[in-house]
């Protein structure tokens, strides 16, 4: 059976200008308890890959360059 892709708004946004993942930083990826962040192979910066956000904010708080913003997922907002 084919698998459908249901779109949903990603709560975590990462400012590629500020992100220093390409310099070896993996802070947000390490600290996400849900493990939903990855390096985007297209630009070497971090991005959200899975819509499984607990909006707990370590990614935003621990980011050394303040590149991460988290919105409350729309269903709860």
């Amino acid at each position: 059976m084919p698998i459908a892709n249901n779109p949903s708004e990603m709560p975590v946004k990462i400012d590629a200008e500020k992100c220093i993942a390409d310099k070896g930083c993996t802070v947000c990826i390490d600290v996400c308890p849900l493990d939903v962040l990855r390096i985007n192979p297209a630009n070497g910066k971090a991005h959200m890959r899975y819509d499984e956000c607990w909006y707990c904010l370590p990614c935003a708080i621990d980011c050394p360059t303040k590149a991460v913003t988290v919105a409350i997922p729309y269903l709860l907002r």
Binding site: I20, K23, G24, C25, V27, P64, T65
Partner: protein, 324 residues
């Protein structure tokens, strides 16, 4: 032996690699490395952070200052004291936070050296750091800092003296309780809790009519904590404070003091619109433990608020048990 490489976050850190990355031409790479060092225990990490705190890039210096929070003693204290003077506010802020984590007396000299620094933020951080050391050597400097022009410094200076709990600090704390700044007064009056009631009574009575409710609240709380018999009349007066928060704390203090004379005034508040206060009044009437309170408590036992009812029932029980 079992295959295991690659599975475990290696506890043996590659310091050679870290040091190499800390010397990178790319500032972002250096800050990433500094953060990694900051998560690493041991003297080697301490050395690298002390080195990195003098980096040309502010982000690296900040990471180093944050990371030094886990180390104690003279060397990190010196490095942090230097970073406290950093032109970059984020670095100085990080250094201030880490200075507050110091615990050993060896860390004191660089802090003491800065206690008269022209920048108030520096003096504040230094006082905060010294407070936690609970050091006799900080007494005199703390005393002098109480005369600082900046109220935020005076507020931290209260902490230095109050943490020492030394009798000889009492006159200074009493004086600080009538400081022109509300936060200083609030801190100072609360800090008198370690002293016997007689020592703080004058301050309590003055602060009971302080212009700011938070100071008045702190004063009534202190009167209860140190069981200041001499404050009873003042506390009864506080039962008609414009802030119900102060009235409630005054009621509880009168309960602790078992002030039978307060029963009529407390009884007057049993119909007050804010239930938090009714609850405190019901508790106080029970703590006083005198049968005169029973009619008021019977009323409170039928309150619309369940917390008031609960406390009233407990208080009725208390009164009845002291009676028998």
């Amino acid at each position: 032996m079992m295959k295991q490489s690659g599975f475990f976050d290696e506890p043996q850190v590659d310091f050679v690699d870290l040091e190499r990355r800390l010397a990178s031409f790319d500032a972002a790479e250096r800050s990433v490395a500094a953060r990694e060092v900051a998560e690493t225990p041991g003297p080697e990490a301490e050395r690298l952070l002390i080195h990195a705190i003098a980096d040309s890039d502010a982000a690296v210096r900040r990471e180093a200052a944050l990371g030094l929070e886990q180390f104690d003693g003279l060397a990190p204290a010196e490095a942090l004291a230097q970073a406290l003077l950093d032109e970059n506010a984020a670095v100085a802020e990080a250094a201030a936070a880490s200075l507050a984590e110091l615990k050993s007396p060896e860390a004191a000299p660089p802090l003491l050296a800065l206690i008269k620094h022209p920048r108030a933020e520096v003096r504040i951080a230094v006082c905060r750091g010294l407070r936690n050391l609970r050091l006799e050597a900080a007494f005199q400097p703390g005393l002098e800092a109480l005369g600082d022009a900046d109220a935020r410094v005076r507020r931290e200076a209260v902490g230095i003296l109050a943490y020492l709990k030394a009798t000889k600090a009492l006159p200074a704390l009493v004086k600080a309780a009538s400081d022109e700044n509300v936060e200083v007064r609030r801190a100072a009056i609360s800090a008198l809790a370690f002293a016997p009631a007689e020592a703080s009574l004058g301050s309590v009575l003055t602060c009971l009519s302080d212009p700011h409710w938070l100071v008045r609240e702190a004063a009534v709380v202190l009167a209860g904590r140190v069981k200041a018999e001499g404050a009873i009349a003042g506390l009864i007066n506080s039962l008609s404070d414009e802030f119900w928060q102060v009235r409630g704390k005054a009621a509880l203090a009168l309960g602790t003091l078992k002030a039978v004379a307060a029963i009529p005034a407390l009884g007057n508040l049993i119909g007050f619109p804010i239930s938090n206060l009714r609850k405190d009044v019901a508790a106080a009437l029970g703590d006083i433990g005198h049968p005169d309170a029973l009619p008021f408590l019977e009323t409170a036992a039928g309150d619309i608020d369940p917390d008031v009812r609960k406390i009233a029932r407990r208080s009725i029980q208390l009164v009845e048990s002291t009676r028998s």
